[in-house]
């Protein structure tokens, strides 16, 4: 059977979860660029493949298994029931059997069995145990970088086996023996050196924020501040650095600023922690993740803020929500009256519900919208007080700011959401083929609502999702600008007190403007 062709407009139609035929080896050639020696050593890893890589790898695997119950239980407990085999978007998009979650786990499990289990030591052929050969190592580099750590498989496994945990462990081992991935390690290096993933220095950041202030003023007539390093502000806002930089992220950032302005709170960005994302998670290194997380704590302490709010970023929110308190806490110097940390969507919805925001939904009338549940928000964190708040809160915000909202098929949203195809450290050009194919299920789900309800735009709350969709939407016959930030929608609809828009609206309603 032939490998599925590269995505075309034709591949964008059909059942999002359609089962592909098995195409062994179809994606064996997909590999990330290796990290340079300088990138490796900056993170404390060996510069290149170490001589005794085999023994080092096995030793590291042993350490990891002893240090993580999840890893140990998951390597020991899989019964090969097959329930997860059709749950990974990379399998659905490529048909490569090694992209079935259990088969991906087996790449590590077979080596674990060989070295750490009785059966694997004495009767390897019986239990599928294998030595760590160069071929196996090549498979690790290839297929553990075809997992976006989206956890969709974990939802459907009877034991909750989370392939993301296994991919993280495998990447940790690869780093330990000198085979790091360029994309993630280079970016982490930039965070350590400059403070954000994009390597945007404080000066450039300051300029960017000022020019955004000008833009907003020109647009609305209101000077909305985007403060940087303001000591003593109430709130430290931490966002993915893409928000300072590219579309549609920036429009989202403008949305946060307008909301915070209308809320009347004092807030600030930090140049030291000008990055919400934490790529330490992607490479499975808890130590690196902790170093990055501690920057946020330090910024919060230095700026003497009382609250911590995070912008739209999937993996960042997972780390913030679930890990920050553990890795950099207790954050008991913050005000316990507010969630620590709080998601910007929680912040905004609270204002909306209390009637503090004036919203003109009609400003979004040209848009027929759907929502992509970013997987790390959906399956690895929460918003609000109730389980599932991470699904309802962003939708409630969107429904409050636009008139035409439609959900995609239930088997592709909420806890069953399909990854964008670019998460988990895969958002790099050399993996574009994989990214396109991995996006196929989501693109088909989008196509369904586009055909059925005339949906024109999809909102997301993750910087990686947004960047990935900007790239893949055109390949599936959609407009590149069809991907929007949730707070971009808020920004469109929000009517700032004293703004031109407020005047117009008041005039239209025949009410005397309060501003004049």
């Amino acid at each position: 059977m032939a490998a599925p062709d590269a995505p075309t407009a034709d591949r964008s139609h059909g059942d999002p979860l359609e089962m592909p035929a098995l195409c062994p080896g179809a994606m064996a050639a997909s590999k990330p660029y290796p990290a340079s020696p300088a990138m490796q050593t900056a993170l404390g890893f060996p510069g290149q493949l170490v001589e005794d890589w085999h023994d080092k790898a096995i030793a590291r695997l042993g350490e990891l298994v002893n240090g993580s119950r999840a890893l140990r239980v998951y390597l020991d407990s899989c019964v090969k029931c097959g329930a997860c085999t059709d749950k990974c978007h990379y399998f659905l998009g490529t048909g490569d059997p090694k992209n079935m979650p259990v088969a991906r786990q087996d790449l590590l499990r077979k080596v674990y069995r060989r070295h750490f289990t009785l059966a694997g030591r004495y009767v390897p052929w019986l239990v599928g145990a294998e030595d760590l050969t160069e071929a196996v190592l090549a498979d690790w580099v290839s297929y553990f970088h075809q997992c976006s750590q989206c956890r969709r498989c974990s939802v459907f496994c009877p034991f909750g086996i989370d392939t993301a945990e296994i991919s993280m462990a495998a990447r940790d081992i690869l780093d330990t023996i000198g085979l790091g991935q360029k994309y993630s390690n280079e970016i982490i290096g930039k965070v350590f050196k400059i403070g954000n993933n994009l390597g945007l220095p404080p000066k450039a950041l300051k300029n960017t924020l000022e020019s955004l202030e000008d833009d907003i003023e020109e647009d609305t007539g209101v000077r909305v501040e985007l403060p940087l390093n303001r000591e003593g502000a109430d709130i430290l806002l931490v966002t993915p650095s893409a928000d300072f930089f590219a579309s549609p992220h920036m429009e989202g950032l403008i949305g946060y600023a307008k909301v915070l302005h209308e809320a009347g709170v004092s807030w600030t960005f930090s140049s030291y922690a000008s990055e919400a994302a934490n790529f330490g998670m992607f490479i499975g290194s808890t130590d690196t993740m902790q170093k990055v997380a501690l920057r946020i704590r330090k910024a919060a302490e230095d700026l003497k803020v009382k609250r911590l709010v995070f912008g739209e970023c999937g993996h960042a929110w997972r780390v913030a929500y679930n890990f920050l308190n553990t890795l950099a806490g207790p954050l008991d110097f913050l005000d316990p009256a507010y969630p620590i940390p709080q998601h910007i969507c929680e912040f905004t919805l609270d204002l909306i519900e209390r009637g503090k925001l004036r919203l003109d939904k009609s400003k979004n009338d040209a848009i027929r919208l759907t929502f992509h549940d970013s997987c790390n928000v959906a399956r690895a964190s929460r918003m609000g007080d109730e389980p599932g708040g991470q699904f309802e809160i962003p939708r409630a915000v969107l429904r409050a700011v636009c008139n035409h909202y439609f959900d995609m098929a239930p088997e592709t949203t909420r806890e069953a959401t399909l990854c964008c195809g670019g998460g988990g450290g895969l958002l790099t050009d050399e993996l574009m083929d994989l990214r396109l194919k991995g996006a196929q299920p989501r693109m088909r789900a989008l196509r369904e609502v586009a055909d059925e309800h005339g949906v024109t735009h999809m909102a997301a709350i993750c910087a990686i999702c947004k960047a990935q969709f900007s790239k893949v939407l055109p390949k599936y016959g959609f407009d590149m600008e069809g991907i929007v930030s949730v707070h971009q929608m808020v920004s469109n609809a929000i009517v700032l007190t004293g703004s031109k828009q407020a005047e117009e609206l008041d005039a239209a309603h025949g009410v005397a403007s309060t501003a004049s």
Partner: protein, 243 residues
């Protein structure tokens, strides 16, 4: 002769089963959980998380979401297996408790249904290419072993009945270290041999999923990271302290 061999075999199997499982469970329990990783949406309390695990154990909730066929066969197999095991308690308990007596008349039915489910699970392994791809020799062998145990048990139940009173005396004797003669029907000897084999391989195979399901952090952790700090391992905590 058979009596001594089988008695020795069962003592060995019990030691391997209980000892092996105890070691593996202790290993699971001792291994730290550095981070909070429940698959969300998840219950926000520990009681809720306990209920979530219970619904996985009793109803196979995630599997139900995942694939109705695997769920059906898998669930039926486990339930009938449990019922058959309860029924077998009558060989070890005197007097026989009511619950055990209650399932007594349905042994044949349970056995047949269980065998059907096992055949279905084994066929899936052969017939579905995705499942065949991920199956190892041991996966077929374990299912084969269970199937043979079921078939020999059915034979004992319906075709070649053995001396049940003597069998029970043997079992009770084993527990009291007072050996009683074991009937030597071949079906019984095969049945017991295979059961002992299953007990021995249990802790060393993927049958470890039985304790594993209780230790899975994505299922048994409560989703309360913001409310309650999940303390990290000492190594990471030391770094925070220094910071």
């Amino acid at each position: 002769m058979a009596t001594v061999v089988y008695a020795a075999l069962f003592y060995l199997a019990t030691v391997a089963f209980v000892g092996g499982l105890a070691v593996r469970i202790a290993q699971f329990a001792r291994t730290p959980t550095p981070l909070r990783i429940p698959t969300t949406p998840a219950p926000t309390t520990r009681t809720g998380a306990g209920l979530r695990v219970a619904s996985e154990v009793v109803l196979f909730q995630s599997l139900f979401k995942s694939n109705k066929w695997i769920w059906l066969f898998g669930w039926i197999f486990h339930v009938t297996l449990a019922l058959v095991l309860v029924r077998h308690l009558r060989y070890f308990l005197q007097p026989v408790p009511t619950a055990v007596a209650l399932v007594q008349p349905y042994g044949l039915l349970f056995g047949l249904v269980m065998t059907g489910a096992l055949v279905a699970l084994l066929s899936r392994r052969f017939l579905v290419p995705r499942v065949r791809y991920i199956s190892q020799v041991s996966d077929y062998l374990l299912l084969g072993l269970l199937l043979l145990i079921a078939l020999s048990g059915l034979t004992l139940n319906a075709v070649a009945r053995t001396d049940i009173v003597a069998t029970k005396a043997f079992c009770l004797g084993l527990m009291r270290f007072d050996l009683q003669p074991l009937p030597t029907d071949s079906a019984l000897l095969v049945h017991l041999m295979l059961v002992a084999a299953l007990m021995i391989v249990f802790p060393f195979s993927r049958l470890l999923h039985a304790p594993g399901v209780f230790f899975s952090p994505t299922r048994n952790q409560a989703d309360n990271a913001r409310e309650k700090r999940h303390a990290p391992p000492a190594r990471l905590e030391a770094v925070v302290k220094r910071a």
